[in-house]
């Protein structure tokens, strides 16, 4: 594989992901561990796309029970009411807490789906044998990384409500099975984004303006 001019990899230099120490090819032959911090160092994360996809598929599978099973069970005066993530959002909306409903909807529904789509798209860009737009790919990656952990907010809300509202039969809240699956969705999408090596995007050829016009002309 050839790397773009000016990159560390094009000179055979490996950069440690923890302490950014550069490792020369000669040092790399002796040990694959960083000489400063001891972390494992490679030119590009090994099996990056495979690992990314494996974590992503796991989170997609978990996403199904996370949305269809109840995340919370509210017992009020002997009656038990189960609610899924979406039902929780609808209840909040009906209570008039539009802002909170929106926060939960974005964090628990929009963000995980967007993340799955964008990680798939980025992996596809890497695998596909065509030039890509670096700026666009980079923007999407940065957004994916930044937004990741905020989905965890719904899990924390469930944890807090369960701890706070325990009055036996008058009113009590218990966690539903979806809470764990949803936490899994968040953790596995985070692992997936971390397994993805952004440098793979920059190793690809830059999509030129002229390529675009060529494509348009063909169409």
């Amino acid at each position: 594989m050839t790397f773009p001019k000016g990159t560390a990899a094009s000179r055979g230099l490996r950069s440690c992901s923890i302490c950014s120490t550069l490792m020369t090819p000669r040092q790399a032959k002796l040990s694959s561990r960083c000489r400063v911090c001891g972390a494992s160092v490679s030119l590009r994360k090994p099996y990056s796309i495979q690992k990314t996809m494996a974590f992503l598929i796991t989170s997609c599978v978990l996403y199904i029970p996370a949305n269809f099973l109840p995340i919370m069970e509210t017992t009020q005066l002997g009656r038990t009411l189960q609610s899924t993530i979406i039902q929780g959002v609808v209840q909040l909306w009906e209570l008039g807490s539009y802002g909170v409903a929106l926060v939960i909807f974005v964090a628990s529904v929009v963000v995980p789906i967007l993340k799955m789509i964008s990680i798939t798209w980025l992996s596809w860009m890497v695998v596909r044998k065509k030039p890509i737009s670096h700026a666009k790919a980079n923007q999407i990656y940065n957004l994916t990384e930044f937004v990741g952990k905020w989905s965890m907010v719904d899990v924390f809300v469930v944890a807090l409500l369960v701890a706070l509202i325990q009055f036996d039969n008058i009113m009590s809240i218990h966690p539903g099975p979806a809470a764990l699956s949803f936490a899994g969705v968040v953790l596995f999408t985070m692992l997936s984004a971390q397994a993805f090596d952004v440098r793979l995007l920059w190793d690809k050829e830059q999509l030129q303006e002229s390529d675009l016009t060529d494509l348009e002309a063909k169409n």
Binding site: F3, G6, T7, A8, A9, R11, L13, S15, S17, I18, C19, S20, T21, L22, T24, R35, V36, C37, G38, A39, L95, G96, S97, G99, V100, V103, I104, H134, N138, Y141, K149, W150, M152, V153, D154, V155, F156, V157, A159, L160, L161, V162, A163, L164, I165, Q166, F167, I170, M171, H174, P175, A179, L180, A183, M190, Q194, V198, R199, W202, D203
Partner: protein, 210 residues
Amino acid sequence: MSVESRSHNEHHIACYACDQLLHVPPLAVEQEALCQRCGHSVAGHSEKDHGRIIGLLFASLVFLGCALYFPMLGFSAGGRSRGMTLLDSGLALLESNEVVLGLLVIGLVVGIPLLLIVVMLIVLLSLKLNWFTGLLPMWGRIFYEVRHWNMVEVYVLGVLVSLTKIASMAEVEFGMAFWALLAFSVCFLVALNSVDRIELWRLIRRASKR
């Protein structure tokens, strides 16, 4: 200056995002180094006075202690009232037989921040006092491996969301730990972001002579 002509000294790094080989000089206050190729922020300004960061870290330890010990939120319904502490949000899940989820919440809310504070204190103190410098690279590595699992700010958002959720049902009382949690998250996040990675490793490398 060609990179090949001289050995790769500590001022050369590869951009995390695009692997471009860059020369990063020590930065002045409020300066930031951006990658020439992709624009990614490679290095930022670092607080030179580690004493201030150490102070912030001790403050966040104290606030975290308060948040753990005192009640955070109180809630009354049907003539009965109940208070909860920071740790209760995880313990209640354990009591509801959600063991994995309970441990996960405790780990994310208390375990990881505590680990980050302690490790950062060890790093900064041993840099300052020149103690046990041989172990510095190990602590530095632990810090940067764990760092992106910090979710304190997400938890604070969670507390605010659940507050509005229950405010419609009954009266909510703010405990001492609620304010302690807010103070803790501010001190902790400021301390966490005040040391630049490149600069910290430069110091660690020098101190541990690797």
